[in-house]
């Protein structure tokens, strides 16, 4: 039986008239890295806040470790959040920031653990206790994020990348069942961001903690995730691995949002040895799709289209004229036009010197049916 750390059932969140999250069902397996990927305003951050408890779903239920937490406040949930702005406390040192979660959990100087009665609650309000256990855990966390010995530093003395790591340490010290990350790398420069992507993934595998990561950056999602949930307009369009999302996009939106693709809308029909989509009187051979009624057309990635001699004899093979070309060093990007006006983007590896093509040339393009994907609405 699979363990799910987070289970969402029919979660809907409305703000006045706006539906931010629309009837989302989602299961996140224990120890997996799930990314909520989508454009701004698709509801991914709202969904994350429903899991953390900052928003209460209008409808539906949120389960963490099989416990219904729909109406449990954030401070009683076993989740931690890494905020986009880091939200480190400026009036506390690095060490105090990292220790905060344990102190609030009641790992105080008295050695008692757990959130006790009124007396303890009052005592905790007087001061944030510290003890050897907290101190050693703080040092452990700082080592984990590769910033040992920084506990007496002020937050303002740290660089953006270092603040990011401290935010991570602060969130992880309470050993949450789920770590939620809201575009945490957004403020870093490209190089640092790429390093942090790898480090985050390594950290997640080392700790075997469930991570739910929100981003609009598809490259980030493809790099780190075990599972990607592509969101659009408040609902999940597709849930799958990076390969599934890229190679077998379920909907037009996913095909268009992830990577670059050629979309062809048309009418679907089953044929003797597969299926076909007609557009402008031209027939494209495609793999058959059981949900044929809802089909919108098909997509084929630029790198899956062959150009030149090797294009002849493929399932789909057409004459086309090059109308635009972009030289990218390792590959050439060509926009070609068929005689019916249909346009395709084609990537060509430049393997041989002098094989580059020029605008205006007429070429043969083609692709195998199985390299295209039939899309549903």
């Amino acid at each position: 039986m699979t363990d799910y750390d987070v289970r969402l059932e029919g979660v809907t969140k409305r703000f006045d008239d706006v539906v931010a999250v629309n009837d989302v069902d989602l299961r996140v397996e224990s120890g997996k890295f799930l990314t909520l990927l989508g454009p701004s305003g698709c509801g991914k951050t709202t969904l994350l806040r429903c899991i953390d408890g900052f928003e209460t779903p209008t409808e539906g239920a949120v389960y963490i470790k099989d416990e219904d937490v729909t109406n449990v406040p954030p401070f009683e949930r076993n989740t931690s959040m890494v905020f986009q702005s880091y939200a480190l406390f400026p009036h506390m040192t690095v060490g105090e920031n990292v220790a905060f979660g344990l102190q609030m959990q009641g790992v105080d100087g008295s050695g008692e653990t757990g959130r006790g009665g009124v007396g303890q609650a009052v005592k905790r309000l007087v001061r944030r206790g510290s003890n050897e256990e907290i101190e050693s855990r703080v040092e452990e966390m700082l080592e984990l994020v590769e910033l040992p010995g920084t506990k007496d530093r002020q937050i303002s003395e740290l660089s953006g990348g270092q603040q990011q790591r401290i935010a991570l340490a602060r969130a992880l010290i309470t050993e949450p069942a789920v770590l939620l990350l809201d575009e945490p790398l957004g403020a870093l420069d490209l190089k640092l961001r790429q390093n942090m992507q790898v480090e985050l993934k390594n950290l997640q595998e080392e700790l075997n903690t469930t991570f739910i990561y929100v981003t609009h950056d598809q490259e980030e999602a493809l790099t780190m995730s075990d599972q990607i949930a592509v969101m659009n307009d408040g609902h999940v369009e597709q849930l799958g691995t990076a390969t599934e999302i890229y190679e077998e996009p379920a909907t037009e939106f996913v095909a268009d949002f992830i990577g670059e693709t050629n979309l062809v809308r048309g009418d679907y029909s089953d044929t003797a040895d597969g299926a076909a989509i007609d557009r402008n009187g031209r027939t494209y051979v495609v793999p058959s799709n059981p949900e044929a009624d809802a089909t919108a057309g098909f997509a084929v990635r630029p790198e899956k289209i062959r150009i030149g001699d090797e294009a002849a004899g493929l399932d789909n093979s057409f004459r086309a004229t090059i109308i635009d070309e972009i030289y990218k060093g390792n590959l050439g990007k060509f926009v070609v036009e068929l005689d019916d006006g249909g346009r395709f983007t084609v990537d060509m590896q430049i393997r041989d010197q002098g094989s580059y093509l020029q605008t205006g040339e007429t070429v043969q393009i083609g692709w195998a049916a199985e390299n295209s994907v039939v899309l549903t609405e």
Partner: protein, 276 residues
Amino acid sequence: MMGAFRRARAALFERGAGLLVAQTAFVYLFLYLPIAVLITLSFNDSRYAVVWQGFTTKWYTALLQGETVARVDPTAAWNALLNSVEIAVAMVVISTVFGTMLAFALDRYDFPGKRLFTGVVFMPIIIPSIVMGISLLLFFNIAGIQLGTGTAIIGHVAFGISFVAVVVAARLQTFDQTMEEAAMDLGANELETLRFVTLPMIKPGIFAGALLAFAMSFDDYVVTFFIIGQENTLPIFFFGMVRQGISPGVNVVAALIIVVTMALVAVAQWFQGPTW
């Protein structure tokens, strides 16, 4: 060509800087010269004239030993000072608590009639003190409340809350509420979040508001005059004295108050700590 331009510009800036220094000096002179004169005259060996007759500390010694100096009775001055401090401290404590709560309400919540409510809250800052004084006097009379330091405290709180609320609300505007979410996310409940994150972070605003309220209360004459009855505060006491001419005794008491006030401000700033 460029060199000449640069030199000309540099020269202009140099002269400009000189002007700036002069202007700054004049502003400070304008602000502080009267105070310096007052403190100097408190050491003047002359009973009546504002003409310098020589240095003496005899007014200080006399007043501190309880002797009356040129109609200034140290016991009356001391009583007035005690009243002023009592009113100001009580007013600051009450206004800071309620003003801060008010600032939170205005910053965090939307409710019907909020604009009107906000306007009413800030009204005491702009309405003339004399109107405030008369209306409070009428109110206390109609309500049948005996005038005294108690009514003075109530009257001062009526405008103190507004000043604290304005300053704290300004601070809250720049406060990033994600900080509170981060605290709650880490297991702090609402009270703990307020205690360990929100209050420490807006503390400079609360201090500034309290300090402003203290200053407003301590030197208020008009409102107090109407609602304090037979009691005296320092401003009322001074006004009574000065009406009959400037006396070295008044200078001494004023000089002492300046020293104490400055010390208070220094202590408050030290307590306030750094700002983020």
